[in-house]
């Protein structure tokens, strides 16, 4: 597999990477800096290190100690108790409540990613391929929900989805007299999640679609592909890197959602995030909350890695030998 590297020039085989210091003189400090660091096998590490270190100190460490605390327990009156115990995990798996909520979390997160994907493609195509004003309109519009506070936003949805809301009204105009009740169901949660997390899908997709060579699409058209087929066979696979980013963002974010399920799901369909908030803020059961968090982390990480791996492997296939 040939690797190509932007910031360094000798590349490819490890023998070369290891070939030692660069021959020649350096005329400027800047160049010396870049060259020096581009010719060692540690360049990648060097680039990744600051961010990684930052997250290791300010995220991993605190969160790992949180995970460690999931192995401690708290006494009935909310007081923390020292020592290692698996009781939080036993509790997690002894009742089917948590398992069912885990499954709901996975379901909502997957559905959100799926719906976001369906809605995101036309939007991303409009951004990537439309004129500047269309692109601007779409971009601003889909970003807007992110800037509106979740409670206010949810209130907007409530107004639309309630029995006498805009949604019911529209359905009535179309002749559906007994509109399905959406508010305070999983559907409302799904709708609201898709609504806010849509831009996280659209933007990476638009970037990926914008990079697709138009003549490749044209070639497919000429070969007899309908627009739909062009999409399925050309645009979709070539946008996979963007989709992978979008899907992993949306899946992760919706898995951890906790305000929306409370407000729009009417607390009837909480996700794991809601339970975590409940444990930590209401019940003071920090260890059990940590245990649920650990479960959530493991779940999302697994799904993400499996998914990313699948996409990356496929993607690697057509870039690995690219020059």
């Amino acid at each position: 597999m040939e690797r190509t590297i932007p910031f360094e020039t000798p590349r490819e085989s490890e023998e070369v990477m290891a070939a030692g210091p660069v021959a020649g003189r350096f005329s400027r400090p800047a160049e010396m800096f870049w060259t020096a660091f581009s010719s060692t096998r540690h360049t990648g590490l060097f680039l990744v290190a600051p961010a990684l270190l930052f997250l290791a100190i300010w995220f991993l460490w605190p969160v790992l100690s949180m995970i460690v605390s999931s192995f401690s327990s708290h006494s009935v009156d909310g007081v923390m108790v020292e020592g290692i115990t698996f009781e939080n995990y036993t509790r997690l798996f002894s009742s089917d409540l948590y398992f069912r909520i885990l499954m709901r979390t996975v379901r909502i997160a997957l559905l959100t990613s799926l719906c976001a994907m369906v809605f995101a493609y036309p939007l991303a195509i409009a951004i990537a391929r439309g004129g500047p004003s269309l692109a601007r309109l779409v971009t601003i519009t889909i970003l807007a929900p992110l800037l509106v506070n979740v409670v206010v936003r949810s209130y907007g949805w409530q107004t639309i989805l309630n029995k006498a809301g805009a949604f019911a009204w529209i359905l009535k105009q179309v002749g559906i007299t007994s509109p399905p009740v959406l508010l305070y169901t999983e559907w409302a949660v799904l709708i609201a999640c898709v609504h806010v997390y849509l831009p996280f899908m659209v933007m990476p997709l638009a970037a990926a679609i914008g990079r697709i060579d138009r003549t490749v699409e044209e070639a497919a058209r000429v070969a007899g592909a309908t627009r739909l087929k062009v999409f399925i066979r050309i645009v979709f696979p070539l946008s996979l890197p963007g989709l992978a980013v979008g899907a992993s963002l949306v899946f992760s974010l919706s898995s951890a959602a906790y305000v929306t399920p409370q407000i729009l799901g009417g607390n009837f369909s909480p996700l794991l995030g809601t339970l975590i908030e409940q444990q930590i803020l209401t019940l003071n059961d920090w260890p059990f909350g940590a245990a649920i968090s650990t479960l959530l982390i493991v779940m999302v990480l697994t799904v993400n890695l499996v998914f990313l791996n699948a996409v990356n492997r496929r993607f690697a296939r057509w870039t690995e030998s690219a020059r």
Binding site: D213, T215, V216, E218, A219, A220, R221, V222, A223, G224, A225, T226, R227, K229, R233, I234, P237, L238, R317, W318, T319, S321, A322, R323
Partner: protein
Amino acid sequence: MGNPAVTTNRGGGSVSLSGISRRYGASQVVSDVNLEARSGEILALLGPSGCGKTTTLRMIAGLVQPTSGEISIDGKPVTTLPVHRRNLGMLFQNYALFPHMTVLENVAFGLSMRGTPKAEMAHRVKQALALTHLTGFEDRMPAALSGGQQQRVALARAIVYQPKVLLLDEPFGALDKKLREAMQIELRQLCNKLGLTTILVTHDQEEALVLADQIAVMRGGRIEQVASAREVYERPASHFVADFIGTSNFIPSAVLESRNGMTTLAGLSGNVFTSSMTTNLGAGEKAIVAVRPESIRLTPGEPSGGETNTISGNVLRTVFKGQSLSVWLDVPGLEFVCALPIEAIGATPPEPGTRWTANWSAERTLIVREQ
């Protein structure tokens, strides 16, 4: 799930362009092009870089909308027919291979769009790959192919489903001569067998001459001449065509007389030329005598005198070109270039500084209008 309107067929469709124009912003890239490719024939679009060849092909394919004019395939206007319903095969100048598909998948694409059964698909793809000398490359990704290999994949992809009309934009540009010639023969045979109508953009005059039934020479977005290969070669309609079709020597002249199918002209420095080309130019009118380098014989020394179609000068330089030796004679007002077949070189090849006389037959004397 085939698209019933798009099926493979064994007879090519005629293509006709009438009054086609295309503008990009302020620049008129194609102007009032009228062209007719008859069913089953190969039409070559020839012309200098940037003259609008690719744009014309793209308009036929439906990838670019003409700003005005009408395109029909098989007599039916296609201006509103979507690209994928036109049943065309097209080889793009930059290949436009699908980067995420293997060679096999690239080639099979058009067939799968037509719902071709698996077995037949495999068979046809195999054939197309064999034809393009790509057997063994089935599972490569395009990025791992050389330039010429990519071009051949693009060709295989365009022909595999035997479209009604084949649009080829410099199909052999990245191939060496041997391979190019082999593929030209294959293409010719394929077109004959299937009666494919082919429109071929090329910058290789020889390719156009060998492959094409008709040649359309374009210049600055306009058609300068459309005619059979031989006619374009032997009776170029203009200075430009003559010039473009093969490096020629152009001698500004004036018509002396024209009768019995023979025209006599006087060159500016007194040389007299006779041509078997008839012309509707009257006596005294200006014309240009054009002589192709390979039409010329060279003899050492000065002309014997009184002969027509001779011109002499000192050798400026010579260049060995494999099949021939190019010799530049220093003739007042121009550099006269002759291409001597290797075999025609006698014991004393022309050396720079020596004096030689060029002569040629009346049959090889072209008369073109001044521009």
